[in-house]
Symmetry: C2
Subunit: 372 residues, 2 copies
């Protein structure tokens, strides 16, 4: 029996328009080591938006002339950057969860029948065919809605703490810290005894984190922010940061505060502290250039941080340990909150897109392919 | 017998003025393991200017009311950054060379009598007292004028190639490449069989480097610069760069060209090449913020690079090997060119300051303390 499935696809066309549409695809019967997952829950992460809209000017989003979906216009520069995906319909959805409803003949595939699993890529679909050993198997009793976000946020949060350790730091800084990811990071840090300095933009975000047990929360909207941050960095000794905003001056501000904290009581040194200060940019919530004012001596670094590059760096065995921790703690440490649940079709309505494209902290969409 | 010596000193005063003056100091007889060096040649490097003028507004430079020297005004922000040196007269001159004219009783000190040596710090003086084992001893027959610049430029150039190797790259990029430092780097790369991409700002600078044997020179003043650079990077496989300009967009432009070179013929990858691309900023010829437009995927890094931090990283034994290479090749690989030779007093004339503060490639001042 061949099933069909609605699948969300994104295609950049040579005319500079990106189309995000629902297409009906065939899902062949599973091979011996494969399973078929009935997808039930998949989050819309900022990284999904990058795939879906390919950097289009979002003020140009409009419904497609035919079929279900939307399209938007890319600037010439952005179109050039997308050259390698031109004309290819790419399945959307970086992660999601569902129930295994069919399995190939192998014991490992058969063993998953009826189980809740989480998977990566192609998650915005009704059905997904996948190798059995590419599934993350959740403990019995976990519903797909609880396991929708097992990879991107949990592994990123764990990866930050691992990177901190690998690079010889003992405490860390995080921006946009009240996000789902930020809350996970705070819980991990409490469990692991790691000091964390949270940077948020609103008083209510600070309170949310304090309610989770956060001890250091700095609100960038208050006038004492630079002093507050320096104080928190001096308290914790944090010399590595992870910044979700990317553009603008926050990264440089963090480095300057680290340097000020390190220089407390130190004598004059023309080239600043010799302690290495590092900020990784893992997101681009703020578009535009990153501006580094270089007022923090010479022992500093800024760089991109990407989950898949981190996982390659630590290797498969370490990644497996981290994923097992996610499966074990999916209803506690790695619990996610969603503000809206939408069907595949509703996810492509102009109103929903306008909302989730704001990437506002505290607002998060979940796609439920079974919902209609 | 106690000698006296003119010494150039720089003092930041609480009123926000920095004074760069000539002072007469006492040079006591050498202890057992010390020598007295009659200084004969010391270069004015950009790093010296940072020490001398402490980031002052150079349009405010004027002669001191009394004594020999000049003063200039610091902005409040720059003054804050100089807090730790407030009121302390600092001896100037990061490097220089002279002849040992007096020595303590120890064999190692006595062995240096009459020899040309190079030394670090306090070089802008007539006489300098120093521990014998802090001297770099030049081969017989080398004059101090040939050994004035044994540390800053030679070790920086060698340090770039070592850093390239340490971090797993096989070819490198250098900006402001026609400088004394850049010429040394090109000669080292030819000797060591390392591919180098030189970035210059004028056609005559490109010719100078080609005359030294450079094969890859990109002129940032021509319209095809971005394409030329990408081509050179694809040819050489360079994935690490050293940028003397610091501010502005050149660093970001280099990363973008590296990414374009790496992506030639590669398939679509939303997050770009997974090959790490690195640019180190080792100077600030261009003031103002470094602007990173982040159009080069996620596998990239930017950071400060400082010679003393590099030497600490590789350790004393490695540093010694590099310094011995400088001593051995001081008239070939590490030969420096100076356009002006001035006395200590002339170095503090307004006219000379205006000239050497331009930090123009091809223009370089040498202080000869014996000149009057």
């Amino acid at each position: 029996m061949t099933r069909t499935s609605l699948q969300m696809q994104s295609t950049v066309h040579p005319n500079g328009r990106v189309a995000v549409t629902l297409e009906r695809i065939e899902v062949p019967s599973p091979a011996a080591d494969e399973v078929i997952v009935r997808m039930e829950a998949a989050p819309i992460n900022p990284s999904d938006l990058g795939n879906m809209f390919a950097g289009a000017d979002m003020s140009t989003v409009s419904p497609c002339a035919d079929g279900i979906g939307v399209e938007a216009q890319l600037s010439p520069g952005v179109l050039r950057a997308a050259a390698a995906r031109l004309g290819d319909p790419l399945p959307m959805g970086n992660e999601g969860s569902g129930v295994v409803i069919d399995a190939g003949a192998s014991a490992s595939a058969q063993g998953l029948l009826g189980r809740t699993v989480a998977l990566r890529t192609g998650a915005y679909a009704q059905y997904r065919s996948i190798a059995a050993d590419h599934c993350l198997v959740l403990p019995e009793g976990i519903a797909p809605q609880q396991a929708a976000s097992c990879f991107v946020n949990p592994l990123t949060a764990l990866g930050m703490v691992e990177t901190m350790r690998l690079e010889g730091h003992t405490a860390l800084v995080h921006t946009a810290a009240a996000s789902n990811l930020g809350q996970m990071l705070q819980k991990i840090c409490i469990a692991d005894g790691v000091q964390l300095v949270n940077i948020v933009r609103k008083p209510e975000q600070a309170e949310l984190l304090r309610a989770l047990g956060a001890t250091h929360v700095c609100d960038s909207s208050v006038s004492s922010f630079a002093d507050d941050l320096t104080e928190a960095l001096a308290d914790t000794g944090a010399t590595i940061g992870f910044d979700a905003t990317g553009g603008g001056g926050l990264c440089s501000q963090i480095l300057a505060a680290m340097e000020a904290a390190l220089n407390r009581g130190a004598g004059y040194s023309r080239y600043g502290s010799t302690v290495h200060k590092q900020v990784y940019l893992y997101g681009s919530l703020q578009l535009g250039a990153t501006e580094l004012n270089r007022t923090y001596g010479m022992a500093w670094g800024v760089g991109g941080w990407l989950l898949t590059n981190f996982l390659r760096r630590v290797g498969q065995a370490s990644a497996q340990i981290l994923m097992q921790r996610v499966a074990n703690e999916v209803t506690t440490t790695f619990k996610s909150h969603y503000t809206n649940t939408v069907s595949l079709e509703e996810a492509l309505s102009i109103g929903a897109i306008e909302q989730y494209n704001q990437k506002a902290t505290g607002s998060k969409y979940l796609i439920a392919p079974k919902k209609s």
